[in-house]
Symmetry: C2
Subunit: 154 residues, 2 copies
DNA sequence: CCAATCAGGACTGCGATGGTCCGGTTATGA
DNA sequence: TCATAACCGGACCATCGCAGTCCTGATTGG
């Protein structure tokens, strides 16, 4: 079903969450505000950082900040940052070389047009678009709130 | 990396292979001609059959036949037949109900525009398009050939 | 100097996937 | 009528990647 990794899903949440007026936000703080365990959020942020989607500030009072505004971040780039380059492929087994029996693998290159189509589709949707698509406004809180032990209404 | 299941890849190969003038082709025959183990090919064909992409004829001299011409089979349909409905999703964990803490999951519905975009991208590419994209003509043999124990040139 | 924070790994458990096999059913043809 | 060829629909198991956690540095501010 074209599974999307959970981490990628988190990444979108984190990035949208980072889109506030605040200067920097710490990994634990973000984790608390969106209700995802801190180590996991940290992992996501590290990936996003090395992909250049967020900038980091080390040391005390450090944290993360969006490298660009959400409008300029296509969702494809987030997926690429988390799941590696976007490519529907099967031949990509273990060997970096090529399919063991290349002559028997008449698939090589066959998925290219499909990949291109998906690539361009994903380039046309920004995180800002995804932010709008969220359901209620429960999420668009400025900073605190959320993270109630009691289940919020519905 | 948006992994595509290997079975889906095989499915495309099998379907393209099925596009000959022959009436029906048997599962063992197809397996031999494309160099994929027979049980696996059988599995693929079963899925394709129940998805309505191929029709089957039981009994001796039975086999499989394309339900439509390749031009009328969008690749998205093949993926759906093998991997289930196309949907980038993460919330789809175990529970069929909904995310355990729906209030804390501000992602629900967020990926919808992305899914739609991918869906339409995949609808626009037919298997006939993918057949053209294959590399050499090694594959476009009429029936026999291929399946040499010795490695074919390169 | 100490505390807070990011960086970059290693490590582990679970689940999905790839692949195989088996008993049953249907149809052909001798 | 019977043997055979083929599909049907499961169950079954090993492997691999992913989610999630943790630990040890490096860096910065107070």
């Amino acid at each position: 079903m074209l599974r999307l990794s959970k981490l990628t899903d988190y990444a979108v949440v984190v990035l949208v969450r980072l889109d506030t007026g605040l200067e920097v936000q710490t990994s634990p703080g973000i984790a608390a505000s969106i209700g995802i365990p801190e180590p996991t959020v940290a992992k996501v942020l590290k990936s996003l950082s090395s992909a250049g989607l967020v900038t980091s500030q080390r040391g005390a009072r450090g944290g993360y900040r969006l490298a660009r505004v959400l409008e300029d971040i296509p969702v494809g780039e987030v997926i690429a940052a988390m799941d590696g380059p976007i490519a529907l492929a099967a031949c990509v087994d273990g060997s970096v070389t090529e399919c063991e029996s290349r002559s028997l693998c008449p698939v090589r290159g066959r998925w290219d047009p499909v990949n291109d189509a998906i690539q361009s589709a994903l380039s046309g949707i920004s995180l800002a678009d995804m932010r709008e698509a969220a359901i209620p406004a429960v999420f668009r809180v400025p900073h605190s709130a959320v993270l109630e032990p009691s289940d919020v209404s519905r």
